[in-house]
């Protein structure tokens, strides 16, 4: 390619393809959510959504500053609705009446689809670290259609918002070599954590590994020592800081909750609900089978290469790092759901678990499971002998 052509076409064909897929995914997500909102989602379905919206409106009207990034986000969108109104792009009266406010809620709900696009873009970028373009695209498309994700994309709840920043933090934590990536990852983990403290707990481990990797590159200290120190500091500080918060919502401290609630029944409940991605049993079973097959092959592949222990060192490849990150995040998420999100009552000094879980908590685990399923899809596109013989496909074909 000539220098002039290079200037005109700065992106490599691979990146051009990525850009096309990302734009397509963004468009698909916006289109599907808009259609959903227009036809089936006229009323917000979650109590908390109204609370968040009301808090955002109050913070704008009373000039209060909220520490929650999600409330700030909603307040920004609320102001945007006002600007649109001033510009004549949106028809509202001077001071919002009740019916006007319903319109404002609808406007804010449309605008909040940006969070879902954000999440899906980073889902794709993370998938790209492990899979080829088409498989990443198909996996992301599948993730974008998971039932709970579709529903909560258009209801003003903080789950999708927090997850989008969690996934962004994870993406920038993948073997960072530049300080900018570490800083971006740090900012995103803080935003995710301030939005939902449990998101911080889930995504902090990849962040610590990424940060330790970066520091190791710069000062050449022991990676495990750095990771251990950072993990302790970054978990103990919030643990102490959040004590007062915990005491207001529950009688148990976080450690006590793990010992009491991490039971087989609770884990089983969370797992069963996580793999219920639709209301159709056959589709759910196909999805689950895909994950099981994918994970079996992944374990087989790792064991066959006997690189597991070496992979745990910091010299391993990006796809393995990403796979380990995702597995860690998934298990931390299951731990978090099992421990902190199962409702309970206390009868005669005995804890009675309710054997149910609020569905929206499962958005993260369902999206993470799609990576496992995507891995199974990627296996379909390679001939099976590639896994049975230790030879790359191209060599065999030659």
């Amino acid at each position: 390619m000539t220098p002039i052509a290079n200037t005109l076409n700065p992106l490599s064909p691979t990146k051009q393809l990525d850009l096309i897929f990302i734009l397509s995914l963004g468009y698909i997500v916006f289109l599907t959510r808009s259609l959903f909102l227009q036809n089936y989602g006229e009323t917000m379905i979650n109590y908390d959504s109204y609370t968040y919206f009301y808090t955002a409106v109050s913070s704008v009207q009373n000039h209060n500053f909220s520490l929650s990034p999600f409330i700030l986000f909603l307040a920004g969108l609320y102001n945007l609705a006002g600007l649109y109104n001033l510009a004549g792009l949106y028809n509202l009266s001077g001071s919002y009446s009740s019916s006007d406010l319903t319109d404002v809620i609808q406007f804010v709900r449309y605008a909040s689809i940006i969070s879902s696009i954000h999440l899906i873009v980073f889902f794709y970028l993370i998938a790209r670290k492990m899979f080829k373009h088409v498989i990443s695209f198909m996996g992301t498309l599948l993730a974008s259609f998971t039932t709970l994700f579709v529903i909560y994309s258009v209801n003003l709840h903080n789950d999708v918002f927090a997850l989008s920043f969690g996934f962004t933090a994870l993406y920038f934590s993948i073997m960072p070599r530049r300080i900018l990536r570490v800083v971006l990852s740090g900012i995103c983990i803080v935003i995710a954590g301030l939005t939902r403290p449990d998101t911080y707990v889930i995504f902090i481990v990849p962040f610590v590994i990424g940060l330790s990797y970066y520091i190791k590159q710069k000062i050449n200290k022991n990676f495990y020592l750095l990771a251990g120190i950072l993990l302790i500091v970054l978990i103990i500080i919030p643990f102490i800081a959040l004590q007062s918060y915990y005491l207001t919502v529950t009688r148990f401290n976080p450690i006590e909750k793990i010992t009491l609630f991490l039971t087989y029944d609770n884990i089983k409940l969370v797992w069963e609900k996580s793999v219920q991605v639709t209301q159709d049993d056959t589709v759910d079973k196909l999805f689950l089978s895909g994950i099981v097959i994918g994970m079996s092959f992944l374990v087989y592949n790792i064991m066959r290469r006997r690189q597991l222990l070496r992979q745990l060192n910091y010299k391993f490849s990006q796809p393995y790092i990403v796979a380990i990150y995702l597995i860690l995040v998934f298990f931390l998420n299951i731990l978090n759901l099992t421990t902190y999100h199962i409702p309970y009552s206390i009868v005669n000094d005995t804890i009675v678990m309710s054997n149910k879980i609020t569905l929206r908590y499962l958005i993260g685990s369902q999206i993470l499971l799609v990576y496992g399923f995507t891995y199974a899809l990627s296996l379909l596109t390679k001939p099976s002998y590639y896994y049975l013989r230790d030879k790359p496909m191209e060599t065999k074909e030659k």
Partner: protein, 175 residues
């Protein structure tokens, strides 16, 4: 591998994707329609209160943020059940006892009788602070001066789940 064989896996994946997207979308629609039906009842109750609550009247609301988000003008004319519990110095927890609930109920009765501004008490099926106070889901179960004046019932279209929001009026108030 021939070009045709190369594309077969992608076709299989594409077919699965279409099936998955169809069922996931259908599940989302069903779930949303059921939940929307439930939440619409709050909208109807809010509009009714906005129309019927006079300037100096007060209504006590369950899930108050929902009402306030739909009509912020109600904020100055309504209280949440959380305020009622707070004024009794009782926090609703997993092991809140029956005697604690009785105390809140008694305090609320006294408030209704003493505060002439309180005109409506609303209760739903969701807010435990309200549900716990209305034993058999009737206005009279809290106090005989309460009478049901409006009911917003619904049946969810998919699961056929029934419930309602009830508005109780405080009777025989002389201002």
């Amino acid at each position: 591998m021939s070009a045709q064989k190369k594309y077969i896996p992608y076709v299989v994946i594409g077919v699965f994707l279409v099936i998955f997207m169809y069922y996931a979308w259908a599940s989302a629609v069903d779930y949303s329609q059921d939940q929307s039906t439930m939440m619409q009842s709050y909208g109807f109750a809010t509009y009714w209160l906005s129309a019927n609550l006079n300037k100096d009247d007060i209504a006590i609301l369950p899930s108050a943020d929902v009402f306030w988000a739909i009509d912020p003008n109600l904020v100055n004319r309504t209280e949440s059940y959380k305020t009622v519990w707070n004024s009794s110095n009782i926090i609703l927890r997993a092991n809140t006892t029956e005697s604690e609930i009785l105390k809140v109920r008694e305090d609320l009765r006294n408030t209704i009788h003493n505060d002439k501004r309180i005109k409506y008490l609303v209760f739903d099926w969701n807010d435990p602070r309200a549900v716990n106070l209305f034993e058999d889901k009737r206005c009279e179960s809290l106090d005989i001066v309460l009478k049901e004046v409006k009911r917003f019932s619904f049946i969810t279209p998919i699961n056929q789940w029934k419930n309602r929001i009830i508005i109780c009026e405080v009777q025989n108030k002389t201002k």
